[in-house]
């Protein structure tokens, strides 16, 4: 695997530290007075989501992590496993519910996602920024109430619950922002 010298350090680099993959989320170059350069990094563990702070001197190198992102679609859920398929070669990958985490709320059949592979094995997924979901269960809203600042809970086809405006009815299709979990708009009645 390739390695990175400190002068190649930058945000977004995926590196291997103590046998685990990390994403460099911050990099700060420091050079005190007439002294030696230091590279202050914040790194996110791609397996455990923990944050690591490390400072490196100019002579250090970090090994590149074998991490790639592929376009995949969600096929189905079987117990604790979520099954995805690589859109280009039809290869199937399984993620545990722990790895899928919060994104499970958005996973409906056929949804296109970005899957992260580490040494060829899936470790996490990122859903698209917006997904459209059908309402399967909610209290009927007051007629004519089109205010969007008053909300009620509603269940969608994935079984998850979101806060939606009062006027939303069962059978409506709504758009949710997956980065915040917020309702965006009604797509169709």
């Amino acid at each position: 695997m390739a390695s990175y010298k400190t002068n190649e350090f930058r945000k977004g680099l995926k590196v291997q530290i103590d046998g685990e993959p990390y994403l460099m989320i911050e990099m700060n170059f420091r050079k005190p007075g007439k002294g030696a350069a230091l590279f202050e990094c914040k790194l996110r563990n791609l397996l455990r989501n923990t944050i690591l702070s490390r400072t490196y001197r100019g002579t250090e190198t970090l090994e590149a992590a074998d991490v790639e992102e592929i376009d995949a679609q969600f096929l189905y859920r079987q117990g604790d496993m979520f099954v995805f398929m690589d859109n280009t070669n039809y290869e199937q990958y399984e993620l545990t519910s722990e790895q899928v985490d919060d994104a499970a709320k958005y996973l409906k059949e056929g949804l296109g996602c970005s899957l992260m592979l580490y040494n060829g094995n899936p470790i996490s997924l990122t859903p698209p920024n917006h997904v459209e979901l059908e309402i399967t269960e909610c209290e009927p809203g007051a007629k004519g109430d089109t205010a969007t600042n008053v909300t009620k809970p509603a269940k969608v086809e994935t079984g998850a619950e979101f806060q939606v405006p009062i006027f939303i009815k069962e059978g409506n299709i709504i758009k949710i922002d997956t980065r915040t979990g917020d309702y965006v708009e009604r797509v169709s009645n």
Binding site: P32, G33, K34, G35, A37, T55, T59, E60
Partner: protein, 325 residues
């Protein structure tokens, strides 16, 4: 993309231009002569932690002394001292300097530097002039002065001139400071710089600009050594809000001593895995001919603008930083 646009606001660019005018007026009023020296030179400052950029000016083997490359100057120091050896008395320069691989919140690989020298200035006079520059350009009523040793001992709890490596490591551990990867085998100067950067510098120049003086003898660079015991370097730096703005020396004038330091620096560069820099230079010839006693200071102009305008990233005071250059 909009990366054709400047990263600094027009407000800051105007402020920058005004500061430059005041700076020139300051030196002109005091009888300094503004000079210009080459950015491209066959010589370069020999420093352990400064990596000059090279430019191929002449085909291999046909350059000065058989050297195929020329150096983009990391500071105008060498040529300005040659002017002093040739009769210059009080000179200043506003120019660009280049340093390889330096980019970050406080660094751009190409930056603006103000450098001045005055023949006859002793160590206190050199600091007085820097304090005057800082007070005038930053509108500060007073400039504080603290010794390196005193500030270090207060902040880190050890005497930097006498503490051994073990004591410095212990000081970091006692303060639960996150030590850089691989620092187990770093030498004493690395530890001094590291502790100074983490413990001392953040407290410097917070209420008013501060001049730190009397650096460890091992960090003399081009400063002369004092006669005291322990011997300290007659070197001083200006700090504002924890950021170093300027570095000054009561200048070393002894060519033989500079030759010894250059060789020592090149030996350390080899340890660090860096190429040696030219140990001979026209500066050495000038020093052999006679460099008069003087003080000199280099000031990072971009950082001065940052301090004056409250910017915390160098990008905020540059029209076009390196990624938009």
């Amino acid at each position: 993309m909009n990366d054709f646009l400047p990263s600094a606001s027009w407000d800051r660019l105007r402020h920058r231009a005004a500061l430059l005018k005041r700076l020139r007026a300051f030196f002109d009023e005091r009888g300094f002569l503004e000079v210009e020296t080459p950015l491209l030179s066959a010589d370069t400052v020999v420093d352990r932690h400064l990596d000059p950029m090279t430019v191929c000016v002449a085909p291999a083997g046909t350059g000065d002394g058989g050297r195929p490359v020329e150096w983009l100057q990391t500071s105008p120091e060498f040529c300005m001292k040659r002017l002093l050896a040739a009769g210059g008395e009080a000179i200043y320069q506003v120019t660009r300097a280049f340093r390889q691989d330096e980019r970050g919140r406080l660094h751009n690989p190409e930056f603006s530097i103000v450098e001045w020298y005055r023949v006859g200035d002793d160590y206190p006079a050199g600091m007085d002039l820097l304090a005057d520059v800082a007070g005038t350009l930053l509108d500060a009523s007073a400039v504080q002065r603290v010794s390196y040793g005193g500030a270090f001992e207060r902040a880190a709890g050890v005497d930097p001139h006498r503490a051994d490596l073990a004591a410095l490591r212990h000081a970091a551990a006692a303060r639960a400071i996150d030590v850089p990867v691989g620092y187990e085998d770093a030498d004493r100067d690395h530890w001094l710089e590291f502790l100074f950067d983490r413990c001392v510098a953040p407290q410097l120049g917070c209420d008013q600009p501060a001049i730190v003086y009397d650096y460890p003898a091992s960090q003399a660079m081009l400063a002369r050594l004092g006669d005291g015991n322990p011997s300290v370097a007659e070197r001083f730096e200006l700090y504002v809000n924890g950021v170093e703005l300027a570095n000054g020396y009561h200048e070393l004038t002894d060519g033989a001593e500079l030759r010894r330091r250059n060789d020592a620096v090149n030996a350390l560069r080899e340890v660090d895995g860096k190429p040696a820099l030219p140990a001979t230079s026209r500066l050495l010839a000038a020093m052999d001919a006679g460099l008069p006693a003087c003080c000199g200071v280099a000031l990072g102009f971009d950082r001065l603008v940052m301090a004056a305008t409250g910017a915390d990233d160098i990008r905020d005071v540059l029209a076009f930083p390196v990624d938009r250059a």
